[in-house]
C-alpha cells in the first residue's frame, strides 16, 4: 500500500500535528519506507489466528466471573486513591483562572 500526500494530510489532521512542507515530504518518504517493510506481514496466513490485544488476559485461569476480578475495585469513595486537592489539580495548567482549565473559545454555534 502506498501512502499519498493526501493520506499524510488526513492523518496529520487526525493526530493534530501541524507539519511544515518539509516535514510533510519527509514524512511521506519515511512512512512509505516503513510501510513497505511492514507489508511483509501479508506473507503470513493468519486466517484462524486470534489477535493478541491484551497480554495479561492469559495470566488468570480462574473460572467464570472470578476471572480478572482482581483487576477491578469496589465502589468506595477514595478507596483506591485520594482525589487531588483542587490547587494541585490545576497547578500544571498552562491557562487556568484558578477554578477551570481554559482554552481558546470553542465555537459550535
Amino acid at each position: 500500500m502506498k501512502v499519498t500526500e493526501k493520506d499524510v494530510a488526513y492523518v496529520a489532521d487526525l493526530a493534530n500535528l501541524e507539519l511544515s512542507d518539509q516535514e510533510r515530504a519527509r514524512m511521506l518518504r519515511d512512512l512509505n519506507s516503513i510501510l513497505g517493510h511492514i507489508d511483509t506481514l501479508n506473507e503470513l496466513d493468519t486466517t484462524n489466528v486470534q489477535p493478541m490485544a491484551q497480554v495479561s488476559d492469559r495470566y488468570d485461569s480462574k473460572p467464570g466471573s472470578d476471572r480478572f476480578a482482581y483487576a477491578s475495585r469496589e465502589d468506595v469513595h477514595e478507596g483506591l486513591r485520594k482525589s487531588l486537592p483542587h490547587d494541585i489539580a490545576v497547578a500544571n495548567a498552562p491557562d487556568s483562572n484558578g477554578t477551570f482549565f481554559q482554552v481558546p473559545k470553542v465555537i459550535e454555534r
Partner: protein, 489 residues
C-alpha cells in the same frame, strides 16, 4: 415549532421517517468508572479529580465493579442478552473536555445486545446494544470572566460511568420517539441505576433521523440531532427535522450527512458551523484493561436484584386490586409510590377499597389543586387508614370526604387531620339518635304536618337537621331509616 406551511399533506405522507435514538445514562455509583473520585453532581469545579480522570501521564484505569452491576441490571431490564465476555475499546478524538484524547468505551464486543422496549401501539422497538463507557468533562462557554475569549473546562464529570443505549432504527414517528424515551426512562428509574435527570445531564439523548419514500426499504441519508434536553424538545426537533428533510428532497436537493444542533427557542435545527471531522475514531481494544467477564452465576446474582418492572407491575395491580389501567399507570409513576401503595394496601383490611379511594377521592382532589401524586398531602398510609375506618364503619363515606377536604386545605396527612378533628366517630348509637330525632321532630311541627300530609320528600329536611345536630357523625343510612320509622307511614 416552525414547520413550513407550504409542505403539503401529500408531500408529507409520501415519505416516512426513520428514527434511531442513542441515549446516554449516568450510573448512580459512588465513584467514577475507572477511579475512586466522587461522582457527586454540583461540587466546586475540578475538585473530584485525580491523575486518572485528569488524564495525567502514567495514570491507568481500574474498573468499578458496581458500574458493571448497574449496567447489567439496566440491560436485563431492557431485555438484552448479556455477553459473557465484553471488551473495552478506545475511541480516539480530540476535545478539551476529553482528558486522555480518547474515551474508554466498548466497540466490537459490547456488554449487551438485542434488547427491546414495548411502546403503545403496541409496538416493539429493538435495542441494538447497551455498553459501558466513561463520561467526558464539561465545557462551559459562558458564566466566567473570560467567557468571550475562552472556554472553561471542569473535569468533575470526566470518568463518571455511562451506559449508552442504542435503539434499532425502528422508530417511525416523533411521537413514538417520545414514547420510547418515556418508557426507557421509567424502566431505568425502576432499576434504580440512574436518576435519569435530563436537566442535570444524567440522561442525554441524540437522535438519528432520515426520511424515505413510504414503502422503500433502503434508508435515506440520516442526520444526527443533538443538544436537546427534554423529551418534548426531542419530539419537536424531530418534527422540524423531518419536515426540513422532506422539503429539501422535494425541492430536488440532497440531504447532507451531518450533525445538527437544536435551538429550542427557535424550534429549528442548525448544521454545526465547525468543520465536520470525518469521525475516524480509530477504535482499538483498550490495552490497559482486561476483558470483562460476566458469567451465568454472576448474571443470576444480578437478576435477583431486578425489581418488578413497570409494565408487569401495572398488569398485576389491575388484576390484584381491580383498578383501571389508567390508575395503575398513576400509581406506578414511580417505583417508590407503587411500593408505598402496595405496602399500604396490603396492610389494610380491604386492599381494593384503598385502590378505589385513590381513584375516586384522591385523584380528583389532586387534579383540582394541580398536584402530582408524589405531592399529595395524604400519604398512601393515610389513604389506607381512611379506608380501614370506612370499612369498619367508624366513619361514613361523607365523613371521609370531609376529612379529605380538610387534609388538602390544611396540607396535612389524613391521620393528622383525623386527630385534629378529635377522631370523629360515626354515630351508630340508635338510642341517642332516636333521642335526637325526637328533638328535631318536636321542634319542627310544621314539617311533620307536611310529611303526614303526604309530602314524603320532607324527610330529607329531617335527615338534614339530624345530621346537623349530630355534627355529621350520624350514619346517614341509619338516620334515614329511623326518621322514616318515627315519622311513621
Amino acid at each position: 415549532m416552525a414547520t413550513s406551511p407550504d409542505l403539503s399533506v401529500s408531500a408529507r405522507t409520501k415519505y416516512e421517517p426513520v428514527i434511531g435514538l442513542e441515549v446516554h445514562v449516568q450510573l448512580l455509583t459512588v465513584t467514577k468508572i475507572f477511579c475512586s473520585c466522587s461522582t457527586r453532581f454540583g461540587d466546586p469545579p475540578n475538585t473530584n479529580v485525580c491523575p486518572v480522570c485528569l488524564g495525567l501521564p502514567g495514570a491507568l484505569p481500574v474498573l468499578n465493579r458496581k458500574a458493571v452491576e448497574y449496567a447489567v441490571l439496566a440491560a436485563m431490564a431492557l431485555n438484552c442478552r448479556i455477553n459473557e465476555t465484553s471488551i473495552f475499546a478506545r475511541k480516539n478524538y480530540f476535545y478539551p473536555d476529553l482528558p486522555k484524547g480518547y474515551q474508554i468505551s466498548q466497540y466490537d464486543k459490547p456488554l449487551a445486545e438485542y434488547g427491546w422496549i414495548d411502546v403503545p401501539g403496541p409496538k416493539r422497538i429493538g435495542i441494538t446494544r447497551l455498553h459501558l463507557e466513561e463520561d467526558a468533562g464539561k465545557s462551559l462557554h459562558e458564566g466566567f470572566p473570560d467567557a468571550d475569549q475562552k472556554t472553561a473546562i471542569d473535569l468533575n464529570r470526566s470518568g463518571v460511568p455511562l451506559i449508552e443505549i442504542v435503539s434499532e432504527p425502528e422508530i417511525s414517528s416523533p411521537d413514538e420517539a417520545y414514547e420510547y424515551l418515556t418508557r426507557l426512562k421509567e424502566i431505568i428509574l425502576y432499576t434504580g441505576v440512574s436518576d435519569c435527570n435530563m436537566e442535570e445531564g444524567s440522561l442525554r439523548c441524540d437522535a438519528n433521523v432520515s426520511v424515505r419514500p413510504r414503502g422503500q426499504k433502503e434508508f435515506g441519508t440520516k442526520t444526527e440531532v443533538k443538544n436537546v434536553n427534554s423529551f418534548r424538545f426531542i419530539r419537536e426537533a424531530l418534527e422540524y427535522e423531518i419536515e426540513r428533510q422532506i422539503e429539501v428532497i422535494e425541492s430536488g436537493g440532497r440531504i447532507t450527512q451531518e450533525t445538527r444542533l437544536y435551538n429550542a427557542q427557535e424550534g429549528k435545527t442548525y448544521g454545526m458551523r465547525s468543520k465536520e471531522q470525518a469521525h475516524d475514531y480509530r477504535y482499538f481494544p483498550e490495552p490497559d484493561l482486561l476483558p470483562l467477564v460476566v458469567d451465568e452465576k454472576r448474571r443470576s446474582e444480578i437478576r435477583k436484584l431486578l425489581p418488578e418492572l413497570p409494565e408487569a407491575r401495572r398488569k398485576r395491580l389491575v388484576a390484584d386490586y381491580g383498578i383501571t389501567e389508567y390508575d395503575a399507570a398513576v400509581l406506578t409513576a414511580s417505583k417508590a409510590l407503587a411500593d408505598q401503595f402496595e405496602v399500604a394496601a396490603k396492610s389494610a383490611t380491604n386492599p381494593k377499597r384503598v385502590a378505589n379511594l385513590v381513584q375516586s377521592e384522591l385523584a380528583g382532589r389532586l387534579k383540582a389543586k394541580g398536584l402530582s401524586i408524589e405531592q399529595s398531602p395524604i400519604s398512601m398510609k393515610g389513604v389506607a387508614q381512611s379506608a380501614d375506618l370506612v370499612e369498619s364503619g367508624a366513619i361514613s363515606s361523607k365523613m371521609l370526604k370531609d376529612l379529605y377536604d380538610l387534609s388538602f386545605e390544611r396540607n396535612k396527612d389524613f391521620s393528622v387531620v383525623y386527630e385534629e378533628e378529635g377522631r370523629p366517630q360515626q354515630s351508630r348509637d340508635t338510642s341517642a339518635l332516636e333521642k335526637t330525632i325526637d328533638e328535631v321532630i318536636a321542634s319542627n311541627p310544621k314539617q311533620v304536618e307536611q310529611y303526614r300530609a303526604g309530602k314524603k320528600t320532607v324527610a330529607v329536611f329531617f335527615v338534614g337537621q339530624v345530621m346537623k345536630a349530630s355534627k355529621g357523625q350520624a350514619n346517614p343510612q341509619l338516620v334515614n331509616e329511623l326518621v322514616a320509622k318515627k315519622l311513621g307511614g
